[in-house]
Amino acid sequence: MHGPETKLATAVVPPPRWRVSPQIHGWLLLLPASVLLATFTHFPAVATIIDSFYSTPKGRRAAVLVGADNYQAMLADPVFWRAVSNNIVYAASVIPLTMALALAMALWVNGRIPGRPFLRLSFFTPTVLPMIAVANIWLFFYAPGYGLLDQMLGALGVPTPNWLGDQHTALICLIAVAVWKDAGFFMIFYLAALQQVSPQLAEAAAIEGASRWYFFRRVTFPLLMPTTLFVLINAIINSFRLIDHVVVMTQGGPDNATALLLFYIYEAGFKFWDTAYAATLTVVLLALLAFFALGQFVVLDRRIHYQ
């Protein structure tokens, strides 16, 4: 590697190897990652869109171009609409609840509250547990009759529904699990941001006689805005990406009451093996994510400017 010619190169001019080819070096360094990214992200995204215009190949019958047939079938499919509306209700509940709790947790853990180490441990623990494992534990909480929830409410004499078996409560149960799982994860981002806030600000506000709530509303919360946007985008993505608890706890039931979009894609693709229809559903999900992607770019842009 250390040829005599590099030793001769002067301190002012970089060695020839550096001058010749930042172009080639750049692309060579990028090559391995870009091959994998292209194969498993860009190609499948494009292939999804193409496949949505073809029929599902069956046996010896190859896929044929069917135009917008899959889309028409999708628009006429009540389960699709159910999955979309479920996912909207799910996202609209999970996202604000998770973010509000995450912020409250971060404020507590960052402050001078008694028992701080225990609080931090307790809030963050769900993040390191596999969703699949905790969903099994939550199954017991919701179990009819002898489950923890029924035992507690039964002791108070409150009548209880069959939590996961009832159309009206099943989705709420999954929302609770999702909030529980992610709040501590997002707490970390708020905590990181709070630690960047100068303590002198709080001191100054205290001298001025500002209440804690006023200080939070007028100083802390605005300062946390970039973090809030970052957490928001991630919370949105998670609400469309994570369906482990659906698979474990309800399988989309009862009567599709807990079918989320990705779960319906999974069912169409790997239970009914209707890959063309699964691709069509995926296009909807990709369109949604692309829409939020624009938001993400704005956020990232702002974050880069802070550096």
Binding site: A33, S34, A45, L121, S122, F123, L129, N136, I265, Q296
Partner: protein, 275 residues
């Protein structure tokens, strides 16, 4: 003034109580799992202080399914993914941070695209690709879609960009080539970020479920999460004691690591989030 202070103190006490209540609710599922796992089945939904202790649930769970193999599979999987991610992301991040080449900005946007369109949602097409490659039901097939991680590239690029140019130039003047500069200057300075990224990556892939569920169908490839699900849904009926024992067993390595290195975990996740 004193009334105000008193109400402030009362409010603080109420807030502390609220925080503690929430923390107790948050730890409850894990607490319950521990309870059910170390007591005989008869006590799994029956909470009395004098319930006898037992390790039998763990023994039964361990013997009821090939968990040793699942552990090995998961271990191979997370190691393989992390090793590939570290190499690929380092090289790509270095390219983005310190080389100017045609199409760099466009390439970077294409990389960032993966932050939104994650492999988790491209399951149908990626399964088709794995079939075409003939590697369905292999451990590399579980890992491949995740190896070029946009998150890792982004994180390391930000880190590399913050390395002072003078260090870089000093090494070049001494005759180091591009790769030598990367290894001698950039990688050592980014060590905390590598640790942070490593922890996040390992916990993500230790816990990942849907894609491994789809792409594996045999004992020799299934990771713990998929093995646990098959075990809990089919083999056991509803013996909560054994299921919770299995659940704790599969989460134990990460959970123990987290309990032992709590500060590092939290700081790592923070570091990964700040950038």
């Amino acid at each position: 003034m004193s009334a105000l202070q008193a109400s402030g103190r009362g409010g603080a006490a109420l807030e502390t109580a609220g925080a503690w209540l929430l923390a107790l609710v948050w730890i409850l599922p894990l607490g319950y799992a521990l309870w059910a796992a170390i007591h005989p089945s008869a006590y799994s939904a029956h909470f009395v202080l004098d319930a006898p202790l037992t390790v039998e649930n763990f023994v039964r769970a361990w013997n009821a399914a090939p968990f040793a193999r699942y552990f090995l599979n998961t271990f191979i999987l997370v190691t393989m993914i992390l090793a590939a991610q570290l190499v690929l992301c380092t090289l790509a991040a270095y390219a983005f941070a310190r080389f100017s080449f045609a199409g760099r900005d466009l390439a970077f946007i294409l990389v960032l695209l993966q932050l939104m369109i994650m492999p988790d949602v491209l399951i149908v097409e990626n399964y088709r690709t794995m079939s075409a490659l003939g590697i369905v039901d292999t451990i590399p097939a579980i890992g491949l879609p995740y190896m070029a991680s946009a998150f890792g590239i982004f994180l390391l690029r930000q880190t590399f960009k913050s390395v002072p140019r003078e260090l870089d130039e000093a090494a070049r003047v001494e005759g180091a080539g591009p790769l030598a500069v990367l290894l001698k200057v950039y990688v050592p300075l980014a060590k905390p970020v590598y640790i942070a990224y490593g922890l996040v990556s390992v916990s993500y892939h230790w816990n990942n479920f849907l894609w491994p569920l789809i792409v594996t169908n045999s004992v020799n490839t299934r990771p713990l999460t998929v093995g646990l699900q098959i075990f809990a849904s089919t083999d056991q009926g509803i013996d909560w004691s054994v299921i919770t024992a299995a659940t704790l067993m599969t989460s134990a390595p990460l959970l123990l690591a987290f309990l032992l290195f709590q500060r590092q975990f939290v700081q790592s996740f923070m570091r990964a989030g700040i950038r």
